[in-house]
């Protein structure tokens, strides 16, 4: 009258016992998860720094500093200007160049300045958005990859069941548990990727809006000076 012992299986033995396809899927998902977490942390640091830089620069810009001096400091510094500084630098450089050429009316000078700033802005936003596409892909695809691994594992475990005369749950349970690890892994890769993607696109959108408003305000100031 012994109580039927439950099969003792550990996480590691489940990994090693899984079929080749399932193991492959797990490896793929682990790689995707690692890459996505890597990008998540990279973006986290980069976006935080970009936000701080924008705040500091705006503070400095609106503190009434001389624009010529600000430009000098940015271009002479050893650090390459980033973000809003870069937009300011590009705009001011173009403005100064065009202003030197005689015979240009202010509207064409401003047009050239705006184009230069727009180009710098697009480059900056593009740099911020790097590897977000990867996060989006991992977030949308890895659940399906995990599901594929699970379906494959369950198929195998049912095929094994066909050879057994008396089918019990104990015959399929380990196989299904093994297979479900693939789904778990897919979700583990996907959930942070999706959350990070949404969060970061939102953050980048806000930064881009900030850059754009700065561009408009800065061109207003330049236009006033140009007259």
């Amino acid at each position: 009258m012994k109580i039927e012992a439950t099969p003792d299986f550990s996480f590691l033995s489940m990994l090693t016992d899984a079929s080749f396809i399932v193991q492959l899927v797990l490896l793929l998902l682990l790689l995707a998860s690692f890459m996505s977490w890597w990008f998540i942390f990279q973006r986290l640091f980069i976006l935080r720094v970009a936000k701080n830089q924008a705040e500091e620069f705006e503070k400095e810009f609106w503190s009434g500093v001389d624009l010529q001096q600000l430009f000098q400091r940015l271009t002479s510094g050893r650090v390459v200007p980033r973000g809003m500084e870069k937009i300011f630098e590009a705009g001011f450089r173009e403005y100064a160049k065009l202003k030197k050429q005689s015979g240009m009316d202010i509207s064409s000078v401003m047009d050239g300045t705006r184009r230069a700033m727009r180009a710098a802005y697009q480059r900056e936003v593009d740099a911020l958005e790097r590897s977000l596409a990867f996060l989006a892909t991992v977030g949308s695809v890895s659940p399906y990859v995990g599901l594929f691994g699970t379906v494959w594992g369950i198929m195998n475990s049912f095929r094994g069941l066909a050879n057994v005369g008396q089918a019990t749950l104990a015959h399929v349970a380990p196989g299904i548990a093994e297979a479900l690890i693939a789904t778990a892994m897919g979700l583990f890769a996907a959930i942070p990727a999706v959350i990070a993607y949404n969060r970061y696109t939102h953050d980048i959108d806000r930064l881009a809006t900030r850059y754009e408003s700065f561009m408009e305000e800065f061109s207003n100031i330049l236009q006033r000076q140009g007259r």
């Binding site: 009258m1 012994k2 109580i3 439950t6 003792d8 299986f9 550990s10 996480f11 590691l12 489940m14 682990l30 998860s33 690692f34 977490w37 890597w38 990008f39 998540i40 942390f41 990279q42 986290l44 640091f45 980069i46 720094v49 390459v80 980033r82 740099a127 790097r130 583990f188």
Partner: protein, 261 residues
Amino acid sequence: MSTPATAQYRFSAGVLALLVHVAFFALMVFGISWQAKAPQGVVVDLWSNLPAPPTPPAMAPRPPPPPPAPEPVKKIEPKPAPPAPRQKADIALKEKRKQQEEQLKEEKLKQQAAARKQAQKERELEEQALKEQQKEEQARQAKALADQQAQAALARLTQAKQAAAQQSIVDDYTNRISAKIRGKLNKTLCGDGKPLLVFDINLLPTGQLLGNPVLRQGSGIAACDRAVENAILQSDPLPVPPQPELFSRFRELHLKFRPNE
């Protein structure tokens, strides 16, 4: 395009990502108990009540040693008669020859008799071996019969033991059920008399109530009936034996209550 800002965070981000995965892996390996455990209390009670599981005797009696092979019958080759020396034509020798012939005849007769004796001996030996074999066979059969009987007796004994053990488990659980319900019962609502209430309940294998208890015989005091019903509902899930063959006796319970006893 690898700007210095990205390159700066590449390494630390990689280390952090690695840390996250190590943590996840550790959670999977150590955090989740992958081994289903039976509820502890049940197991303890169960084994304290059970007799030591009888070790079944070796079912197949050892095969008897093969009967000794009958001794190989020795073939006794008749000794070839010494060849009579050839004799030249000689009267003296003729007589001798006659004598020799007689001798030869006698020898032949002797040999024949000896051969007969030998054959008889062999036959006797064979018979004896046969008898021994038969004896062994009988003994073996008798032993097998005895073994079978002993096994049957043992099986009956273990069955009886098991039945007794089962009965003791059933009694144990019945007591536990009544104790659990009794613990939840507010007896003061049942007055001072000796009311008897009968409830029918259906149980799931987990011990949970299936549907509401049905009052078959009330005490006549509505508050008391309600109190008992509440006690039954509150003691959900009831303790039931985990073995399916024992649980079948608990599927439909006919509970009799004497709250004041």
